[in-house]
């Protein structure tokens, strides 16, 4: 056993209101520099929709992630041979049009315009060329546009549906949509790290955050092709690639990352998971429909004495183990089993998990009162507007049983809570429903509490960073003991 700790995440999609506050918080801190205008380390997509960059889930085109070739894991985009043959040109790069041409407006015109019959307007200016431009697309161009004939219909996840189901999904009054906020998944088996010819990308040993060393990056841009989630970006100004750093300077000082901190819907949870790094390859080789279970299997019980002993042997601090025991992510993923990894079939083993949305809330208005359409406690998911197949394509590696389990459990908890607080549902029926959904009243209360009444400290359990230990791996902390005490960067001409 080779136990590592990883700061991982849960996004609760039922709570996301699509306000993009997270994206703006991130942008203001990290990507408001020259060369990063088009980057959105955090973005929020509308599903069904094509996302950012457009149709990023289409790996036939973008060639992201891993594939199984004769039982071996291979990168889809590159290999040693392809690195040589494509040495002058990286063929799998998204174009600027697939992201979008970043723009601003010429606000000055609003103030300087001469008096006239019309209102002055601020014309859009490209932030790349500085010229006037026609805006054709943006990073959330299809925001709230589910059902649109171009963007939503081209969602590649809809390919699993039958023609009839597709038609239903796009029929007026049967439209459905949900938001899909995305950041770097800080995968356990990151294809971006594997693809880098310079070895500039690395997964931090102490907390599993995936970073790009800005000194070693040589602008190969292999990571951009290799990341199936398209979450590494090339900075055209510095000539280096950049990506979400999970706000590690904040995490190291005990604060939640900016997008987590600012989340209005409180959909984001952050906590430590312990996993067995020896099993990464074996796990990633499972067939698509077994991947969710296999990945869950890798995540270890932080209360197990054997696990704790092995973790300590690997240098994981007591405070980290304690954080793992209190981790909300562990609860969602392992204890309750209601958080699922996105597109696990890319085999990068993402460490950001999603609680899938329970769409839609079936209710109708009659006079002044709103009542549930479904008389049963569980809506029939087979007949629900959101086809389970569609969600399974996104969150289950195509395995519908995971989705059915999660949705059933969530709806049983809703029924149970309604029985508790409103009382118009019979408690016995509600408890029966809980049992059928593999849940107990105690567990239901815990899920309810962490979902609806969660405080800051419930959502973010951040362990002490122990940077001093991480630094010890790289250099001797006593290296400069008994040497000049006024800085080491510019050594004095004589004496040390």
């Amino acid at each position: 056993m080779d136990i590592r700790s990883q700061i991982s995440m849960v996004f609760h999609l039922d709570k996301c209101i699509g306000c993009h506050t997270c994206s703006i918080a991130c942008k203001n801190i990290w990507t408001d520099r020259k060369g990063t205008e088009y980057m959105w380390w955090n973005n929020v997509e509308t599903k069904p929709g094509t996302g950012f960059p457009t149709r990023w889930e289409d790996q036939e085109k973008y060639k992201g992630g891993w594939e199984l070739v004769n039982g071996e894991l291979k990168l889809k985009s590159t290999s040693k041979v392809k690195t040589v043959t494509n040495i002058f040109h990286n063929p799998n790069m998204p174009t600027m049009d697939d992201y979008y041409e970043p723009w601003s407006y010429k606000y000055k015109d609003l103030f300087d315009a001469p008096a006239g019959d019309d209102q002055p307007t601020a014309k859009p200016i490209s932030m790349v060329t500085g010229e006037y431009m026609d805006i054709e697309a943006g990073p959330n161009w299809d925001d709230d546009l589910s059902g649109s004939p171009i963007y939503a219909e081209n969602d590649i996840n809809l390919d699993v549906l039958s023609e009839e189901q597709r038609d239903q999904l796009f029929a007026i009054e049967r439209l459905m949509m949900f938001y899909f906020p995305r950041i770097c998944n800080h995968c356990m088996n990151p294809s971006c790290v594997a693809s880098c010819p310079s070895g500039a990308l690395y997964k931090r040993g102490e907390d599993g955050i995936v970073l790009i060393d800005q000194k070693r990056c040589r602008a190969w841009r292999k990571c951009i092709a290799a990341c199936p989630y398209k979450k590494t970006y090339y900075n055209w100004n510095t000539g280096k690639s950049e990506k979400c750093i999970l706000c590690f300077p904040r995490v190291e000082t005990g604060q939640a990352p900016a997008c987590f901190h600012s989340c209005v819907g409180r959909i984001r949870y952050l906590g430590v998971l312990l996993y067995d790094a020896d099993r990464i390859e074996e796990t990633a080789k499972h067939p698509d429909h077994e991947l969710v279970d296999a990945q869950r299997e890798m995540i270890l019980d932080p209360f197990n004495e054997n696990v704790i002993r092995e973790a300590k042997k690997n240098g994981i601090a007591d405070s980290t183990i304690k954080a793992a025991q209190e981790s909300p992510v562990y609860k969602f993923v392992k204890d309750w089993g209601i958080a699922l990894p996105p597109h696990v079939e890319y085999r990068t083993l993402p460490m950001l998990f999603y609680v899938p949305p329970m769409l839609p809330v079936m209710s109708s208005q009659e006079g002044d009162s709103v009542r549930s359409i479904n008389e049963e406690y569980f809506p029939d998911f087979e007949k629900a507007r959101t086809p389970i197949k569609y969600l399974a394509k996104m969150f289950g590696g195509g395995n519908e049983s995971h989705l059915r389990y999660v949705l059933k459990k969530q709806s049983a908890i809703r029924a149970y809570r309604r029985a508790v607080t409103v009382g118009d549902i019979d408690m016995l029926d509600a408890e029966k429903a809980l049992i059928e959904a593999d849940c107990t009243p105690q567990e239901a209360d815990k899920i309810y509490k962490l979902t609806s009444l969660c405080t800051f400290d419930d959502r973010f359990v951040i362990p002490a960073a122990h940077r001093e230990e991480a630094i010890e791996m790289m250099k001797d902390p006593l290296e400069h003991k008994q040497e000049a005490g006024f800085g080491f960067r510019d050594a004095p001409a004589r004496g040390r």
């Binding site: 094509t50 960059p53 457009t54 149709r55 289409d58 085109k61 973008y62 060639k63 043959t85 494509n86 040109h89 063929p91 799998n92 790069m93 998204p94 174009t95 049009d97 697939d98 054709e136 697309a137 171009i150 081209n154």
Partner: protein
Amino acid sequence: MKKTYTFIIIAWTTLSSSILGQDVEGFYKQNCASCHTIGGGRLTGPDLKNIHLRKDEDWIKKFIANPQAVINSGDAYARELLSESRGVVMPKVGGLTPFIIQSLVDFIIDESSKEKSKYGSSAIADRPLTPGDIVKGRALFLGVTKLKNNGPTCIGCHSVAGEGLLGGGLLGPDLTNVYGRLGGKKPLAAWLASPGSETMGPIYQKYPIDEEEVLPLVAFFKDKTLSNVTEAGVHDFNFIIIGFVGLAIVLVLFDLFWGNRLRSIRRKMVEGKI
């Protein structure tokens, strides 16, 4: 420090002169014999027998040191020599010092006084040239047959009109009419036996052209001169055509390798092509 330099300079001059003292004959053989005889009539250059009676020693030394400079100075005799050799200027020999020049002059005067000098004729066999020689010479010139002593192939530096797909090298002069220019079989053979120019000399001293190879080459050059072709221009039209064909092939290969790269997805999607 100063003492060391002085020592090195003294050692160098005495050492080199002593070597030359023994081997002025060797130096003559390597650098002069390809164009000159002593009492055997002219090759490319004039017969050197009794040269000291034709011109004074100072003039001879000046000429050996830098023939082109003497010609350029407008010296009447030097111009006469130039026209006699059909415009072939005597190359400036590398490694000449006043001492060596003096030794050479002494050597020539010495040989002139002999009844029959060793250098009275060229050493090349006097058999007639055959058509087979032309074919063999052409192969040698093009490098199809390698030179026996591993010397570099002629076409590497020289060109001859109509030979070689891309023409020959441009470093040395065009050899299309070299047979006529140097004045026929004997001078040309003598030159090939030990080329004396600053560029060719050092190379072919180490890897000389074999006696067996000289005559075929002469035959090849003679054939070229007699066929009356004009010299090949530097801007060979073939070269441009081949350049374009090569470019086209490279572009096609590029397309085969990288043609299926990722192009815009969004625009195609919006235009309904996905």
